[in-house]
Symmetry: C2
Subunit: 260 residues, 2 copies
């Protein structure tokens, strides 16, 4: 990454942080898939995801993390902890973080009652906990399992189950600001990083508007490295693609693909 470029981006692109809530992610029981989804969808909209934090189902930690991050970034997204069980405490924590009440939201209650009754499911007290929404928040629709997420100022609260989170994100996305489109070009090659590190560093200095990186990957019969350039300037990205390919050829490497 080019730090000077980074500072420029900060002035023009919306920024975001993601909070992944759940003991099961920290214990290794659950492999998180939400970060990659949200990161790529935000990037596609020109919103820079600056950090993600994975934290436990601990009310004080959740509230403090929300309050730390919501003042630093344009948007904060959370996943996890909005179901019916005792370890689902995210709504309580958001209310605490903002210093507001957590009343039953009439529309959320209506949707849940209709959904449960339509399926012959008892709308017991635990299920109806999911109708409690921090005072002043707006609902985020959940077309999969109805229990809504919500937006409280710049904080978007979503489910942890990837399929439900993704459906909620689909609904949130059109309401987000659009930043300068962040494009990327990439070249997959068989050169070890040490072969091209100096040339790549020089190219980064020439293409200072872009972020250049290289990422080793494993393939069936050996190792490859993906050379990537990311940025908002389409002309520079095209130049980067050409120059990355030229660099690989000049060093005697084979190009295995161009992920552009």
């Amino acid at each position: 990454m080019n730090p000077s470029k980074d500072a420029e981006t900060a002035q023009i692109a919306p920024t975001a942080a993601l909070i992944l809530i759940g003991n099961e992610i920290l214990s290794g029981r659950t492999q998180d898939k939400n970060l990659a989804f949200i990161g790529s969808r935000l990037a596609a909209r020109g919103i820079v995801l600056r950090e993600a934090r994975v934290i436990a189902d601990s009310p004080d930690v959740i509230s403090a993390t929300i309050n730390t991050l919501r003042t630093q970034y344009t948007y904060v997204f959370t996943t996890g902890g909005i179901g019916p069980t005792h370890d689902d405490v995210t709504a309580d924590c958001v209310a605490q973080a903002f210093g507001v009440e957590l009343p039953v939201h009439a529309e959320a209650e209506r949707r849940l009652l209709e959904y449960f009754r339509g399926r012959g499911v008892e709308p017991n007290a635990d299920r109806m906990r999911m109708a409690r929404i921090p005072q002043g928040a707006e609902l985020v629709d959940n077309p999969v399992s109805i229990a809504p997420g919500f937006r409280m100022e710049n904080v978007f609260v979503m489910a942890g189950v990837p399929r439900i989170m993704q459906a909620m994100f689909d609904n949130i996305e059109p309401t987000l600001a659009v930043g300068p489109s962040i494009g990327s070009v990439s070249v997959v090659c068989d050169l070890p990083e040490g072969d091209f590190a100096g040339d790549l560093r020089a190219l980064q200095e020439t293409l200072s508007e872009l972020d250049l990186g290289s990422y080793p990957i494993s393939v069936e019969n050996g190792a490859r490295v993906v050379l990537v350039a990311r940025g908002t300037d389409v002309v520079k990205l095209t130049q980067a693609s050409d120059q990355l390919q030229a660099l690989v050829r000049r060093l005697g490497g084979t190009i295995y693909g161009d992920e552009r």
Copy 2:
């Protein structure tokens, strides 16, 4: 999670934070696999991973994050940013965080030279950057690609490539303190969470030494929920397993497995 239990654990178990360094994780290009590996290996050793942060290849952010976390936890682990390219800045950032120099480490240099020469690879300046180790740090062996990680006080710096990170972790693991063994029992069932949330809450109150949780998962032909109890008390874990199974049966659910 049971907050009172959480406070007790903090007094007896070593704690840890994990810092995943890399723009490629935040942009969604790379699906992280290191958190789940490290989280489960730490849990197996009785070390509680309290949080993980995914941050960009930004020197100031990396240094500040290391300094924030190393005073809060028994151990801090980092992955990523120790290769030969311009965006590999983790060693520089650790040196900056601890206020020490970053000289060439004689043993690291020796290993790298031997490795590169044995493979007929030019030990150019970029490759030899990987021999720079913060003053006072100890090497962490890298049997895969030789370039070492290192330990600086309570901070362990590892590669980002999973295969290399895992080999480094194998070498680090025996040097870590051992906490009370954290075991878990689980029951997979077909009940919706809302059916058992009240009973699970009551069971959590009875088994206050354990952390009870429920995690919806998708399977080929529908949805399942995994009920999990985690903790250090083997007798209580056995009780939890029996009571979770009894709970599912009492509510008319089917048990699809017991991951114990």
